[in-house]
């Protein structure tokens, strides 16, 4: 019923959305904080790639690794500098802090670079394609699928096989109890932010690889996507975020495929209608999850 290139397209979009959503939920699980500055981590990754591109000939892969590291570091620093001091205050305080961090990072990009979009260099492999049977498959799509699959496997291993990963899952469920077993609160929260930054960094490579340039407000769309995906899949488990991301990617692809050309502009509206329907009938999302509502504090 669906052609191969449609499936690959949808899978690639879904993979990217899954990573986006997971990066938001991993912090939400621990702090019950919807981190509005999450999109800006993607922006930071993009600008890092842009600036590194101005340096004399580093291999692209090295630049990409540095950019991802910078996103991780930024995420870690936002926690240390901004979120940690207000963590034990009200949820409102921490939410406002995340708005402030988001605005601050955007303004920093405006001041240091420019409000105008900046082109980011990508290697030729990104724009090429391979012929499979009688269809052309964009390399970029294959790269997204492979990278996100590997990343999801690595994260799963981390969360299931290492004591730190087990502690992270436990803390998302019952934070205070986890601390009473000896797991340091600060360690767990830092790890969550670093993983969130890692995901944002990897996402920035592919997101900016698709649009080709970076602007101070580039983080807004991925943030919205993360919201929608987590509403679909459920905010209360990491699996939910991943499932939500893939579902969103597929739904969006299907809508784009079946909507007549003149209605394509309405696909976001249609997407949000579906989200509202889900909220009406399954307010906790499709995957219920096990996290309690308990907050750090």
């Amino acid at each position: 019923m669906f052609s191969l290139d449609f499936l690959i397209n949808a899978l690639s979009l879904g993979s990217l959305y899954a990573l986006i959503a997971l990066g938001l939920v991993i912090v939400y699980g621990i702090l019950k904080l919807v981190n509005f500055a999450y999109g800006e981590l993607i922006m930071v990754g993009g600008y890092a790639l842009f600036m590194l591109g101005n340096l004399p000939a580093l291999p692209w892969l090295v630049m990409a690794l540095i950019a991802v590291t910078i996103a991780m570091l930024t995420s870690y620093l936002t926690e240390r500098v901004a979120f940690r001091p207000v963590r034990e205050k009200s949820l409102t305080a921490i939410l406002i802090t995340s708005f402030a961090v988001s605005t601050l990072l955007q303004n920093a990009a405006l001041l240091i670079v420019s409000s105008r979009s900046r082109a980011v260099q990508f290697p030729a492999i990104f724009s090429g394609s391979v012929r499979l049977g009688n269809v052309d498959i964009a390399n970029r799509n294959i790269l997204v699928i492979v990278t996100s699959t590997l990343l999801l496997i690595a994260l799963t291993l981390l969360l299931k096989r290492t004591i730190l990963g087990i502690a992270l899952r436990a803390a998302a469920d019952k934070f205070q109890m986890t601390r009473m077993l000896g797991v340091p609160a600060n360690l767990i929260i830092s790890v969550a932010f670093v993983i969130s930054g890692l995901l944002a960094g990897v996402v920035s490579l592919f997101w900016i690889g698709r649009v080709g340039s970076v602007t101070p407000t580039i983080g807004l769309s991925p943030l919205l996507i993360a919201f929608v995906a987590t509403v679909i899949g459920g905010m209360n488990s990491l699996e939910g975020a991943v499932v939500g991301g893939y579902l969103y990617g597929f739904l969006f692809s299907i809508i784009s495929l079946i909507l007549p050309q003149n209605l394509l502009d309405y696909r976001e509206a249609l997407m949000f209608s579906i989200v509202i329907l889900i909220l009406l009938f399954k307010p906790e999302g499709l995957i219920r999850g096990t996290y309690s509502g308990e907050r750090v504090g």
Binding site: A170, K174, R179, M180
Partner: protein, 237 residues
């Protein structure tokens, strides 16, 4: 071993503990009883570091732990079986136990402890790869105790371990407490099952409205509980 000295504890503007002083000697089994809302759970969670006393002090092995975080306090040797068990529902039994041993990072020791745990609680061995949330109430209670023991505590605090269990399982839990105590474990036990508790302890504290109403041997506490029932027209439990 443990000395809680005149602590006052608040939840926001609500004062839960007005003035609580409790002592537990090494090797003792001490009970904390009192009506609902008396402050038993608050006392234990304050010792565990989840709440900070506004005034007063908590000494453990002659050093103050009142300002330490929960993750530091368990490293001093105080473990808790909390009210409501607080099992990690999405983690397997083994993972729950692994976290119990978090402060002891020795793999081979963990293996040995796990074997011991399974001998002591055979049902946990059978359920070792099952998610904590799928266990029955009694099994979860055993897991909560086993998890606390994994840290090799010097002091074990238990908050209503028999709550919500079938009578046969209540017997089992009380047997377990006696067994642990006999093996040398120091235990601070919160219980609502007053009669059974006073049967197994040598010393107890009766809390009322955030204050120590009475302390001493079971007979002394029984008398107070009886007087209380006359006043309130109901049994303290």
């Amino acid at each position: 071993m443990l000395a809680i000295e005149n602590i006052l504890v608040r939840y926001g503007s609500i004062t839960a503990l007005h003035d609580i002083s409790i002592k537990v000697q090494t090797g003792e089994l001490v009970a904390l009883i009192g009506a609902n809302g008396a402050g038993k759970t608050t006392t234990l969670t304050t010792v565990a570091g989840n709440l900070k006393p506004v005034t007063g002090d908590i000494q453990f092995e002659n050093t103050s732990i009142a300002s330490l975080s929960p993750e530091q306090i368990i490293r001093k040797g105080i473990a808790i079986v909390p009210e409501g068990r607080e099992i990690f529902a999405s983690l397997t039994v083994e993972e729950n136990l692994k976290l119990g041993a978090y402060i002891r990072r020795d793999r081979s020791e963990f293996k040995r402890d796990l074997d011991e745990t399974v001998t002591m609680f055979p049902i946990l061995g059978e359920r070792i790869h099952q998610q904590g949330g799928t266990l029955s109430g009694g099994e979860q209670q055993q897991l909560a105790v086993a998890r606390a023991l994994m840290s090799h505590p010097k002091l074990l605090m238990m908050d209503e371990p028999s709550l919500g269990l079938a009578p046969a399982l209540v017997d089992q839990i009380f047997e377990l407490i006696v067994k642990l105590h006999d093996s040398g474990m120091t235990i601070l036990l919160v219980e609502q099952n007053v009669e059974r508790t006073l049967d197994i302890v040598k010393r107890a504290y009766l809390l009322k409205n955030g204050r120590v109403e009475a302390e001493g041997a079971p007979e002394v506490i029984r008398k107070h509980v009886d007087i209380e029932s006359v006043y309130l027209g109901s049994k303290v439990n």
